[in-house]
Symmetry: C2
Subunit: 200 residues, 2 copies
Amino acid sequence: MDLELFYEFGSQYSYIAVAVAEQAAKAQGLDLAFRPFLLGPIFKAQGYSTAPFVQFPQKGAYVWRDIERVCEDLGLPFQRPSVFPRKAVLASRVALVGMDEGWGIAFSRRIYQLNFAEDRDIEDEQNIRALLSDLSLDADAVLSRALSPENRERLKAQTERAEKLGIFGAPTFVVGNELFWGQDRMEQALRWAKRAKALP
Amino acid sequence: MDLELFYEFGSQYSYIAVAVAEQAAKAQGLDLAFRPFLLGPIFKAQGYSTAPFVQFPQKGAYVWRDIERVCEDLGLPFQRPSVFPRKAVLASRVALVGMDEGWGIAFSRRIYQLNFAEDRDIEDEQNIRALLSDLSLDADAVLSRALSPENRERLKAQTERAEKLGIFGAPTFVVGNELFWGQDRMEQALRWAKRAKALP
């Protein structure tokens, strides 16, 4: 593992990162680990009353325009969600199971698609079931693993690790102890990962 | 004028933008207007109790590391200031005078140098006088213009214009009604300005 990508399903910039990072890392021969986590508890601990983009309306207004422009440049579909930020505890638990089983990235992309291209609820169990079926998975079996105490604990641990690393927003790329916050820092993170890999 | 750069002397990312934007715009044949303004009143109006990087310590810690890395990449000297954010009302007033007289950008660069490379007070009148003398200017005459009621009003008006544009942080590039927040959005802003210029 050369670098990590911490992402949260409610975060619009994470949508972009998850859409493009796998291929970008592969193109540079880098092994990128996907780390779904929850920003809610971190925001709360850091003194935000809600997502910063909601708490500070001018920044929020800017950010929706910014993401529109970035998605247009990248050819990614985008529709501003009617609910923001959307909670995604179940989806995050499912994504963790998917990481073990090889379908976690594809699942994550589809969750983002629901949230930021189709404006649909991503916490709704029926939507998640439909998505798992689309991926030819046994939704009952996956949900049962996702809701196991061990898996709940894993999501909590991943979120705690994010907090300990100093993560305060998403997406965040991690190379060793270096954080790179924002989808627009991806190229820099990849450069650092390449450099770190080349060290003896 | 093809695009504008709103910057604040207390802002570390504005330091980078002011250091590199003039040349970058010139290289693309674009006419860039420099707009010093004050973030303090805007932060206050938007519900921040201080600079966001101070109000939210994890983000603050990240940002100092980030700027160190970015300055290293660009070959810009950087030293974390012992006081942050530094106020710079007088320096901003002087910069406005300088914009009329052709030395405003050079003066701005030196103020940033004091703040972010030499960790010196940028509101101190003696430091500003020394800097004006370095630029072969008559410090008394400049300060008298800077402190005139008309010039004080201009800085206020520029700050109010920034607020009306929806600016919530610095640096911000402006192309028509489009905002591009952050030194890392400069290339995108230049692309937009080029496109806008090419329109019939």
